[in-house]
């Protein structure tokens, strides 16, 4: 009975922590993804933003 026994609470708290701190916790991932292309000598495709965790909070080109 998760509602009354708090078994789901730590999961909800972890989710809330990320939502509340998304740019700080996830933002550096965008640069890491960009570098994974450029480090292998390849261009970064336009659609990478639609597949990248954290990209919503990073301006295109900021990465």
């Amino acid at each position: 009975m998760p509602r009354f026994q708090d078994s789901a609470e730590p999961l909800i708290a972890s989710n809330r922590w990320i939502r509340d701190n998304r740019r700080r916790v996830l933002g550096n991932n965008v640069e890491a993804v960009r570098r994974a292309f450029t480090d292998t000598g390849r261009a970064v495709p336009d659609e990478y933003r639609f597949r990248t965790v954290g990209a919503q909070d990073i301006d295109p080109g900021e990465g």
């Binding site: 789901a8 991932n29 994974a36 292309f37 990478y48 597949r51 965790v53 919503q56």
Partner: protein, 337 residues
Amino acid sequence: MAQRGMKFGIFLAPFHRLGENPTLAMARDMELIEWLDWLGYDEAWIGEHHSAGWEIIASPEIFIGLAADRTRHIKLGSGVTSLPYHHPFLVAQRFVQLDHMTRGRVMLGCGPGALPSDAYMMGIEPVHLRRRMEESLEAIIRLLRCDEPVTMQTDWFELREARLHLAPYSDPRFPISVASTITPFGMVAAGKHGLGVLSIGAGLPGGPEAMAKQWRIAEETAAQHGTSMDRKEWRIVVGMHIAEDDEQALRQVRAGERLETTTYFEQTLGRVPGTSQDPVRDGVEALTTLVGSPDTAIRVIERLLAASEGGFGGMLFRAHEWANREDTLKSYELFAR
């Protein structure tokens, strides 16, 4: 699902909506694998995650250990082990033990770590993840050869005259695959060592169009390193739900898919929202989602095979709870039948 042709299975992250009883959710995951084993599916790959509340399995190894005891035939892999989070010696040791305990039914899936929040909590910067994965993978492969002691030093682990005291049960070792999501990194890592590939990115926007190009990267890298790639060891991961007809299947998953995509991938993980008004139906058209009747499933798989320009060896259905329990279990049965 037979002794020849393509392999079929699931990629079990898993995804469970927030607020659910996690103990029961893990029990459902185990029950699903038992069901797939009974239906004749070939394999299940189980994920490793540590944050964000949806993907609740922390140790695929522990899950595999129990699943092996509950099943008879299905192969069990980590999907995937986040190599930068572990000392490579311990990864190798654990999988060799599982190889023995499962009598050769285990597979090692490798990746740099999917959730930046996991790495953040462990103090690892995302820009270091891929390099660390590459270093760990090299160490694991050398250890599994069991030919000579391995000495290796990096800025995050060290091996000194290291050798496994137990050799793999499988000869020469259990299968190893690398996750490929967005960047060329996974294909390069697989090509370097001649390993299998789990194309998780095939189910993302632009994924199917990139498949053939991505595989070529692996083949080119393999040629440079004197290894070879085998399309039979290339698995494609897509979301799937089958019902008697297309509209029924779409109706069964519509609300659940939206809940997962908006509340988890967009609002929690910060993925840029899509613009489609009917994402599941459009996903079927774009080959990123496989929802519909058995005939539709066949058509989508055939189109994916064509898009790969040469074929792939397996399809892994990304396990989800878009539909209710009964319809989900029936979906796997309809596909198997």
